[in-house]
Every structure is written in structure tokens, then in C-alpha cells.
């Protein structure tokens, strides 16, 4: 698909801005996303092509304004709902429960 993920040759994306002594993960939630993705990928819930395509379908503005591990999170939520492991309603309910607990 002619998505915004297909970045080669585009202009206007800004400076590269490498971070000195960058840590492997920047936050605990990135670790959790990485763990959940490798565990579900390694368990055969989806393959690399489904993985990439789910990220391509996340919407152009959303893709460009979110980080790599947010792309991964979107992917694993989408594919685990599509394969019937969980439902969107279950996810929404669990998020609401956790938000309430944290409030």
C-alpha cells in the first residue's frame, strides 16, 4: 500500500538527532510491549508480514506522531483482536478498570 510508512526519498521529516548513550528502552511500558510482542510472535500468533501490515494500517497521522513501540502496541492489540484471542470490548473494559484504579 502507498502508506506513509514508505518513507524513502521523502523530504521534510526533520533532523536525525541521535541520542548519546541511548538506553535500550526509555520506559517500563516499552519493555512490556517488547515482551508481549516477542512472546506472542514466538508463540505463532502472527507472522512478520501480518505484523508489518498491521502497522502500515494504523493511519498516516497516527503513524507519524507515535513512537516505534506505540506502533508495536497498536499491531499486537489489532492482531490479537483479529485472531479472536481477545475482543476490543475486553480491552476497553480492562483499560477502564486500570484507569479507575490509577485515578
Amino acid at each position: 500500500m502507498n502508506g506513509v510508512h514508505d518513507l524513502g526519498g521523502m523530504h521534510g521529516m526533520g533532523p536525525i538527532d541521535p541520542e548519546a548513550n541511548e538506553p535500550v528502552f526509555h520506559d517500563e511500558w516499552e519493555r512490556r510491549v517488547f515482551g508481549v510482542v516477542i512472546a506472542t510472535f514466538g508463540g505463532g500468533n502472527y507472522d512478520v508480514d501480518q505484523f508489518r501490515h498491521a502497522i502500515e494500517l494504523m493511519g498516516a497521522a497516527n503513524y507519524l506522531s507515535t513512537s516505534y513501540y506505540e506502533h508495536w502496541l497498536h499491531m499486537v492489540e489489532t492482531l490479537m483482536v483479529e485472531n479472536g484471542t481477545i475482543t476490543r470490548d475486553e480491552l476497553d473494559a480492562e483499560q477502564a478498570k486500570l484507569a479507575k484504579e490509577a485515578a
Binding site: 524513502g8 510472535f41 514466538g42
Partner: protein, 117 residues
């Protein structure tokens, strides 16, 4: 569906999941072939970036047989085929006064290319 347990992690990590296929497929191209990339705009998944579509390059190396992502992503089969390293010049890709001392190498499946006519 397997559940990955802690004792499986080392092997999972060290083995991975190669998309290389242990089967034969007749290669459509040979090293040195002058090719043109197909100008396709599939609405689904593809690993052919827009910047090489319709461009001319030269096959440098045959990597062997791999799963074809454009069909596999949509449960339409692995469609085993060869993948090649293909060299493009900057002026072919970007036009203008791009210098041809440099080069861009990209990997192309059989179904992405035709011989230059």
C-alpha cells in the same frame, strides 16, 4: 498456538523465524541482468518501496528462495520465489544532477521485476 515459557526463550531468540524457504523455485533472473521494476500500486502489503517503481537496475546477487510477503500477509500463500540484491544509480532513482559515484542496493523478489525490453 504455543505459549512461550521462560525456558524456551533462549532457543526462540537464537533460532528466530527465517522467511527463507528450503525449496526450489526457478529463478527468473541471473546476476548481471538489467531489470526494470514493475510499476505496481497494490492496496495491500508490499515490500517494494515507491522510490524504485518503474526504475532500472542491475541484479548483483541471488539470495535464494523466500516467502513472498505480498501474498503471505493476506493469507494467499507463501508463493516461494527468489530474492535478489539489485543495484540502482542515484540519477535513475532521483533524477536531476544526482551523482552516480554512489549507489543504492535493495532486495527485490522475482514478482517485482521484468527484464529491460
Amino acid at each position: 498456538m504455543a505459549v512461550v515459557t521462560a525456558d524456551m526463550v533462549a532457543e526462540l531468540s537464537a533460532t528466530g523465524a527465517s522467511c527463507r524457504l528450503d525449496e526450489t523455485a526457478t529463478p527468473r533472473f541471473s546476476v548481471g541482468d538489467h531489470i526494470v521494476v514493475r510499476n505496481i500500486n497494490p492496496p495491500g502489503h508490499t515490500r517494494m518501496p515507491r522510490y524504485v517503481r518503474g526504475k532500472r537496475g542491475v541484479v548483483q546477487r541471488d539470495h535464494g528462495v523466500f516467502i513472498f510477503p505480498d501474498t503471505n500477509a493476506h493469507a494467499q500463500g507463501e508463493k516461494p520465489q527468489h530474492v535478489y540484491s539489485v543495484r540502482f544509480t542515484p540519477s535513475e532513482l532521483w533524477g536531476g544532477d544526482a551523482s552516480d559515484r554512489d549507489s543504492i542496493y535493495i532486495d527485490m523478489w522475482d514478482d517485482y521485476m521484468d527484464l529491460q525490453g
